[in-house]
Each structure stands twice: as C-alpha cells, then as structure tokens.
C-alpha cells in the first residue's frame, strides 16, 4: 500500500530518493485521511534551506492545520504548483501527483534514520489499533 521505495517519518511525511541526491517529498496516505479534504498548502519558496525534522510548511484542511516537517535536510528546488492550485490532488494521489516539494539533499545519509515501508506500515497499524482500544463498549440506551 505504501510505496516500497519510499522512506517515511513518524510525522507521516514520505521522501522518494531520486538520482543525483534529489528527492520528492509529500504526505502519506494516513496523514491525508486524518486531515480530511485539504484546502490550502503553505509551501516554502524554491531556494529555501530546510533542516531534517524541522517544520518547513503548513497543510490546511477545513478544520485543522498541520505542520509539515522536512524528511531530510537540503534546499527546496521545486514546489508542486498543481497541488497548490488544487489541493484535492494530495488527497486523491498522495504518493504520486500529490507530491509537495522536491529537495536537493545536503546529507543523503539522513535517509537511513527514516522508516522503510514495512516499518511504516507497522507504525500506522499500531496507531490504528490504539485508536480502536479507546472506543467504548456499546451500551444499550
């Protein structure tokens, strides 16, 4: 479900390493489901320097604002203007057309600290299980 070649953060960002120390980054499917319909993306200007795990953007749905943390350090080369124009694409295709930024990585070894897709699958499964446990038993009225 979550693409095998991608790497994942605990804050539900993904990064897809490409050749030449570059990588596209975005929100995972779990994140977009939690946030609901996205309405606005506040992405940094190309040329902005970012640091791994530090906030680099804000993602808004109707009733919530979420911080987007950089999955790796580097420089923003490009932002997805199509997604900015129509944030729905992030909900529809979070791993493909819904990418958010393209980064030039300054420390590619940082990717080793991130989860691979199996680990992330488990991480999400645990979160969902925790949420289930909090549901009360049904009481008859």
């Amino acid at each position: 479900m979550n693409p095998k070649e991608y790497k994942y953060t605990e804050e539900h960002e993904w990064i897809c390493p490409e050749g030449g120390d570059r990588g596209k980054a975005g929100l995972t499917d779990y994140a977009q489901t939690q946030l609901g319909d996205l309405v606005y993306l506040d992405l940094p200007e190309p040329g902005t320097e970012v640091e791994q795990f530090k906030k680099m953007a804000e993602i808004e749905s109707v009733k919530a604002v979420a911080d987007f943390f950089a999955p790796a350090s580097g420089k923003v080369i490009e932002v997805n203007q199509d997604a900015i124009d129509d944030p729905a694409v992030v909900n529809q295709d979070p791993y493909g057309e819904g990418w958010l930024v393209e980064l030039e990585l300054s420390k590619p070894s940082e990717l080793d600290a991130l989860m691979d897709s199996d680990k992330y699958d488990n991480f999400v499964a645990e979160l969902e299980a925790e949420a289930e446990e909090e549901e009360p038993e049904e009481k008859e009225g």
Binding site: V39, Y40, D42, E60, S61, V62, K63, A64, V65
Partner: protein, 419 residues
C-alpha cells in the same frame, strides 16, 4: 427535577465549591420591577445632554450622521439580534448572507479586494492591521503618522506593546521612516480634517518594503478617491458613521479590508459563498484556520465575538442610501462644512489653521480659549468642536455633517462672532 437528579436541594449541586465560599453575601441594590427600572434609567438618561436636543459640531472619530429609520426596524428583528456566531450555517443563513453583503459593500467603498466580517472599532482594526503587516513582511516595527487620530495611535501602541513591536511616530515628511518598518499607518482625511498625499506615502512605504495602512472616513469615500486607487495594502475605518448612533463611543465597528494576496493573514471572521448538497447557493464561515479556535496560539488574532449587529446596521445603511444617496450625504457634508469654514474664517480673531483641501472637519484658531468658546456654545445648546489646545494653540476641531442646517451653522457663526 431535584428528585430525578438525586439530590435534595439545589445547593447540593454546588458541592464542589469550598463550603465557606458558597452562598456569600453580595451587596447590590434591591431588584426593580419593569416600571421602576424604566423610570430609574429614564432619569439617568435625562442627566445627559443628548444630540437630539443639542446641535452638534463635534466629530474627531465619532460622528452624528443621519440614520434612516429602516435600519432600526431591521436590526430590531430578534432573529438577527438574538442569534450568535453562525457556527451552524443551515440555521444562520440570515446572518451569513448579510455578512457576505457587508463584506462586498465595504470593499466597493474602500477599493480593496477582500474584507472580514468586522472588528471592534476603527482603532483596534488599525492595530490589528499593523500586526498583520508584521506577519506579512516578517518585520517587527510599525510606523504611524503624526496626523493620525491620537486615540488611534494610543490603541495601536497598546497592541504593538503586547507583541514587543516598537511603534515609531513619523512626521508627514517621512524623514524618520525606518527601512525595516512593516507598515506606515496614515489617516485620510487626517485627524485635522484635511487630505494628504496618499500616493507619495504609498510610494515611500513600498520603497522600503513596508505596507501602507490607511484609516479612512467611510462617508468621504463617496466623494473622494478610495485608498485602493492609491495602492494601499490595508484599509480600515470606523463604521459607526454608517448608520449607528454615537452611543457614547461604543459599540462601533472596525471595518477591515485588504488586498486579495493578504487574505489568509486577515484577522477576524469571514463569510464565503458556496453551495449545499442540493447545489443551492448558501453561505458559511470560511478560512477558519486563521482563527483562534483552530490555530490557538498561532492564530492571526484572538478575536471571537466582534460587532455583527453594527455591521448589519452598516449593511442596511449602505443599501438604503446606495450609490446616489451616499454621494449626496458626502456632498451635503462637504458644502455645509465649507460654508461654515468660510464664514468662521471671516470672523475677526478666528482663522483656519490649515489650507489643504478638507471634507467635513477643519481646525479653527479662536481669539479666546476653546474651553471658553465651548462653554458659551453649550449655554445655547450647541456642542462645540474638540479642544486641540494641547497640540495647536487655542484651536478646536469643528465638524459639520448633513444633519446641521443652515440655521444651525449661522447660529454657530453668530455666537462665535460675539466672543
């Protein structure tokens, strides 16, 4: 009911309150019936000289303008005034659609592209505009022109202080304008009633990368160029003049409009048009992610309740007057004020302090202390202008609106001439 709750007295429901502090004594006057209350308040109110009995030539930010009766009949509909913030849009379309109309009307007036649903008053709107400019430019200094209403500068200072943003006072020559200012705040017409070169201010502000914030007299905008045409970034105003009584200074209405590109940095509520599940047009509160209930400490402002009913009055006022009516009111103010200024300027011992074009307010230097002038006027049931002696010797700021008749003005001139 107590039985169903399972307690024997109401006081048991207060069991979590420390006992020694429950049911303490409150020293308040005994209750009054409706008849008694009305008489009591009628007496209190009669100890105030009200502007229905007195002729008024006082302005300085709060104005006596004509209020068509239709406004009170609409704001008096309890579906409007006993509702609250339109959280449940399906049962609040009345409130939401009127906010949308309000936002549209004030943008037409100010020449700006977007508006919010209103703020507390003109001064806090100016203060919030300064903070918004800081967010947009990522700078933390604001500049205000010396010709802005001093009460407004005080309020902007209070808010700026909170954010640790220094507020610079600059003169119209803008010599002191820092290059790291987030904004330049000006008033048009200014506090003394006359027009300044907004184009030059816009140019200079933008040259240093600052936003131009303009505080306007909304009635003047029917006759004079809107700040939008001068490249202003944020335009605010006091909306009381548009259909609300002076009410001892409150409630008023902070009109807040700006360019579209700054929309998501605007404080306050905003209503937007959309459709429902059946495709019918409808209105909702929108862009709520700017606000305190979502963004909390990162909100554009802490504002929640604003001045919705006053905004409704403004909406009805602008609709009732319309394009021609508002223009007519502005012209009446203009010509009557100039008639008065001409006549007073000709009186021995009196002079007009400023020569620049003005709208409905002007500063007059008097042969005796303005306090003395106002005492003489008050005896004749006239409220005189604002005493400016602290700023400009022996001067007062006079205001003439469409409610002042020729007789009123002639009487004013006569009394002034006799001093």
């Amino acid at each position: 009911m107590l039985q169903e709750i399972g307690v024997s007295s109401v006081d048991e429901l207060f069991r979590d309150v420390p006992e020694k502090f429950r049911n303490v004594e409150f020293k308040l006057p005994p209750p009054l019936s409706e008849l008694e209350l009305k008489e009591e308040l009628r007496q209190l109110s009669s100890r105030n000289a009200n502007l229905q009995d007195y002729v008024c030539f006082l302005g300085a930010g709060h104005y006596l303008h004509f209020i068509p009766s239709v406004i009170g009949h609409i704001t008096g509909r309890s579906e409007f005034y006993t509702a609250y913030t339109p959280y449940q849009a399906e049962v609040s379309q009345g409130t939401l659609q009127t906010i949308y109309e309000y936002q549209s009307l004030v943008c037409q007036l100010t020449g700006m592209e977007v508006s919010n649903a209103g703020m507390y008053d003109g001064s806090t709107a100016a203060a919030e505009a300064a903070l918004m400019a800081c967010r947009i430019t990522k700078r933390s200094k604001a500049a205000v022109l010396s010709t802005v209403n001093p009460r407004y500068s005080e309020v902007i200072d209070t808010y700026a202080n909170g954010h640790n943003v220094p507020l610079e006072k600059v003169e119209p020559d803008l010599e002191g304008l820092s290059t790291d200012c987030a904004c330049l705040i000006v008033q048009q017409p200014n506090f003394f009633g006359y027009f300044e070169d907004l184009g030059a201010y816009a140019q200079k502000a933008h040259d240093v990368g600052a936003l131009l914030i303009v505080i306007v007299d909304p009635i003047s905008l029917a006759l004079f160029k809107s700040p939008g045409e001068y490249d202003a970034d944020i335009v605010v105003a006091e909306g009381q003049a548009l259909g609300s009584p002076t009410s001892f200074g409150g409630p008023g209405l902070g009109i807040f409009t700006c360019r579209k590109e700054y929309m998501r940095q605007m404080p306050g509520r905003i209503a937007g048009k959309t459709v429902d599940v059946d495709g019918k047009p409808g209105y909702v509160l929108t862009l709520a992610t700017r606000e305190q209930h979502i963004r909390r400490e990162r909100a554009t402002s802490n504002i929640c309740t604003n001045e919705a009913l006053v905004a409704l009055a403004t909406t009805v006022y602008l609709a009732a007057l319309g394009k021609r009516g508002l223009r007519q009111v502005a012209e009446l103010c203009y010509h009557k004020a100039h008639y008065a200024a001409d006549a007073i300027g000709k009186l021995k011992g009196y002079s007009l302090v400023f020569q620049q074009p003005f709208f409905k307010e002007f500063v007059v230097r008097c042969p005796v202390a303005p306090q003395q002038v106002n005492e003489a006027l008050f005896k004749e049931k006239i409220i005189g202008g604002l005493d400016l002696s602290g700023t400009i010797d022996n001067s007062m700021l006079l205001c003439v609106t469409e409610v002042n008749t020729k007789q009123d003005i002639d009487r004013l001139v006569e009394i002034l001439g006799a001093l």
